[in-house]
């Protein structure tokens, strides 16, 4: 059910975008909606992170994946259990760029129908790497349609990505790896019973959305080609604050652009915010130096205390009278 709803939602959105193109609503679907979506994406992400930044972080959360810094003769696991901010930064870099935590992913399986076995499962890591890195390259490649003149690094990435020179226009390597990555992630969600059991619409929707964006892009580049110069005019106009809507742009493009707009608008309000959240993972971004550095609770305020000495001073006579032992004897008069 979740799967069908998510699939229908993405298909519906694509059809809506295409209809916008067919009906000649280029201004709405080519200018207004993408602008609002971009605004919502940037504004929403900033608001989200600002909200997170208000949470106090009273103490370090040590994650004991490796040996903590201890005596000199005990090897310290610097990346697993960082002691300094630099080491914590190292752990963060590996986490953000190479998804190191995913290498710990395990899969439970019944062997021979009765023995429960936990296995390392690197497929999630591999598909994640394929999808995320390809997506980054694809986004950078698209700058060629948004910027005039095109920056050198964009052309370089494009030329490198298409260096196999297969087909005309050339097939980019990241086109294939992106679709492969998303497909593996979707396949895993559909076929692994445990994962499928906990999957919601919000898990399937982004996957179908990415797949839809990727496939509509392939469609425009390799199957039913579109007027690239006209599309670039539209996009450049958008980014130069002087929007124009050239005639003759294929409805498929409007479908593609509408899906991208939906992705941007959906980003800050969904699980996709992990793009920002990964940087604020409390178990990853803090050095485990609780034993070396004193961390004062930022919420500490002066508490009114009544120490035992004061208590005894106040009640010493009564305590002595009742035979209760006291630290300081009654002064003899």
């Amino acid at each position: 059910m979740n799967i069908l709803v998510a699939l229908a939602a993405v298909a519906g959105l694509f059809v809506v975008g295409m209809l916008g193109g067919v009906l000649g609503l280029g201004w709405i679907f080519g200018v207004i909606i993408p602008s609002l979506a971009l605004l919502l994406f940037v504004g929403g992400m900033v608001a989200k992170v600002m909200g997170w930044s208000k949470s106090a972080v009273p103490f370090r959360i040590p994650t004991s994946c490796g040996q903590q810094k201890s005596l000199n003769w005990i090897p310290h696991s610097r990346l697993e259990n960082p002691h300094t901010p630099l080491q914590a930064a190292g752990r963060m870099v590996l986490e953000v760029l190479f998804f190191r935590s995913l290498l710990r992913n395990t899969r439970a399986e019944l062997v021979d129908g009765r023995r429960l076995v936990y296995r390392t499962d690197h497929l999630l890591w591999l598909a994640g790497m394929l999808m995320h890195w390809s997506f980054l390259v694809i986004v950078i490649r698209h700058f060629r349609l948004m910027m005039n003149p095109v920056p050198g690094f964009v052309s370089f990435i494009e030329a490198t990505d298409g260096f196999l020179e297969i087909g005309l226009p050339v097939v980019f390597i990241t086109t294939l790896t992106f679709l492969l990555g998303v497909s593996i992630l979707l396949y895993r969600r559909l076929t692994d019973p445990q994962v499928r059991y906990i999957s919601l619409i919000g898990d399937y929707f982004p996957l179908f959305l990415l797949l839809g964006i990727g496939l509509s892009g392939v469609w425009m580049r390799h199957l039913d080609k579109v007027d690239i110069a006209g599309i670039k005019e539209l996009m450049v106009g958008l980014f130069h604050f002087s929007p124009v809507v050239p005639d003759g742009i294929s409805p498929v493009f409007y479908g593609h652009l509408f899906l991208v707009s939906m992705l941007l608008a959906y980003f800050p309000f969904s699980k996709l915010t992990h793009m920002a959240g990964v940087f604020l993972s409390p178990t990853r971004n803090m050095a485990n130096n609780n034993r070396a550095v004193r961390h004062v609770n930022p919420w500490d305020y002066p508490v009114k205390v009544h120490t035992y000495e004061e208590y005894e001073d106040e009640l010493r006579e009564k305590m002595v009278g009742a035979g209760i032992p006291v630290d300081k004897p009654l002064e003899k008069e």
Partner: protein
């Protein structure tokens, strides 16, 4: 302990990166036109096929011609679906006979869209142009 400073620094980097296409405009100035202005042949009414098709799919047509002529040895002329006129399947004899100055046509649009076709690694321009 508060990490607000670091978080705001990171957010600033995020905003700058995401709005990157907007910043290109500032560095480029107004020197470049927002669209590719092409010079069309003065004495021809239409291209081999209709304009929308040529704009989007000229590379398909060229590839098809290449396959038919070079690989299949089909020496007959190409019959246009537009008006039934026939054309030699040739980049140099057909395309470049009208679009004489490829810098004012092919290159201008390819540069605009940042496309790097490999046509000219083998083909030459009549008249020995660049």
């Amino acid at each position: 302990m508060s990490d607000k400073g670091k978080i705001f620094f990171g957010l600033a980097i995020f905003v700058i990166l995401v709005t990157f296409p907007f910043w290109g405009r500032l560095s480029a100035g107004d020197a470049l036109p927002d669209r590719a202005e092409l010079e069309y042949p003065a004495d021809e009414e239409a291209c081999v096929e209709d304009t929308p098709f040529m704009r989007a799919s000229h590379m398909d047509l060229l590839n098809q011609w290449r396959d038919e002529l070079v690989r299949d040895g089909n020496l007959e002329e190409y019959v246009s679906e537009l008006d039934g006129r026939t054309y030699p399947r040739s980049l140099t004899k057909t395309c470049l006979s009208c679009h004489e100055d490829r810098d004012a046509f092919c290159t201008r649009c390819h540069d605009y869209a940042d496309v790097q076709p490999t046509c000219w690694e083998c083909h030459t321009t009549p008249g020995g142009g660049v």
